[in-house]
Symmetry: C2
Subunit: 216 residues, 2 copies
């Protein structure tokens, strides 16, 4: 369950309650559609400026939500990197990108909101850059990307960026859809998050190695 | 430009104005977040019940938006099917799925809203089914799916549905992101919709033919 892994110290209870409320509201309605005031209210804060007081701007709030998750993802990625050390299999390196996030979402239990929160953040170019920079900057992520580097063909201009965008869109939206389906109790193609992660890595291997057709 | 291909008869002007307003609002804010009243107001209708009067429920309104686009997509798909008749190349059949929609979005000019509208609809399980059933039911779509059928391996349970979901997510969200970037004047990995379509078909070939790792 979320509470067991995501609980923080008592001194920060108000902050944690606000982050929970904001993550859920942003996941459901989009970041732009939700005001700091609505977050304060949903968090049961008498003072409508509680969000501003504790976090500053909305971008700061979004980053604070992300930073609550990153250490769990980072730790799992370090474990996986230690396991695959020096692997020459593309699949291992793609798994290092995908698995830690999927495993973390799985650990949050149902309902979770992080996948949908992340999908919403991705639709805002400024927030997307802010959050992506934050998530890319960790040591394990840098090592994973460096490891993946050796499998990068010399592609025509734009294709590397495009394939990277595709990998991100696929992982983010498949996870968001699964998270939504689990909450609604509706059917999912895969029985477990574990199997869903295997399916995603399979697909990314195909996506990453697909031949590139030249364009004008 | 949108207007040249999407213009309709004068007798339906109010309906068209409402559909334009609804598509844009749904694209920007999500279908659930926008009321029929807000659509009526954005469409400059003095009567707040204009949407209900002209279209009925919100689901009816969503379907009416979709039905305005489908004939253009369908016509292009029929053309492509005629061109590739009997092809034994997976790529041709995947192109028949992807190209007609991308070409249609390109024909709408910038800004367009259809890709983002569609991405928003995809996040609502009930609307997703409604709209998907509508778009799948056309003769050219049925022929494309039948053509693709011969390239379907015997996959473990759930994988066919999963790969189908992945193709849909990839196309919908890559188009939505491109549409958003074009409106904002920001950078895109590919210079043209045409090149973006080539990139999507390349990726789908990889995604569709990627080996499946067995899971427990």
């Amino acid at each position: 369950m979320a509470s067991s892994r995501m609980r923080h110290s008592h001194g920060n209870d108000t902050r944690e309650v606000i982050l929970d409320a904001a993550e859920k509201l942003f996941a459901e309605h989009g970041v732009a559609a939700v005001s700091n005031r609505q977050v304060s209210e949903a968090a049961g804060q008498a003072n409508n400026f509680a969000v501003g007081y504790h976090f500053g701007t909305k971008s700061d709030l979004v980053l604070a939500i992300v930073r609550r998750h990153v250490p769990f993802i980072e730790r799992r990625r370090e474990e996986m990197l230690a396991e695959i050390k020096g692997s020459s299999d593309l699949r291992d390196w793609l798994a290092c990108l995908v698995r830690p996030t999927v495993d973390h979402i799985a650990s949050l239990g149902t309902p979770s909101w992080f996948a949908r929160f992340y999908a919403q953040v991705m639709t805002d170019p400024v927030l997307r850059k802010l959050v992506t920079d934050e998530m890319m900057a960790t040591p394990a992520m840098q090592k994973s990307i460096a490891g993946l580097g050796r499998f990068m063909p010399i592609w025509p201009k734009g294709v590397l960026e495009e394939r990277g965008d595709m990998c991100r869109q696929l992982v983010v939206h498949m996870c968001a859809e699964r998270e939504r389906a689990l909450q609604a109790g509706s059917a999912t193609p895969r029985a477990t998050w574990d199997a869903a992660a295997v399916g995603l890595v399979d697909a990314l291997v195909g996506l990453w190695t697909a031949p590139v057709t030249p364009t004008k």
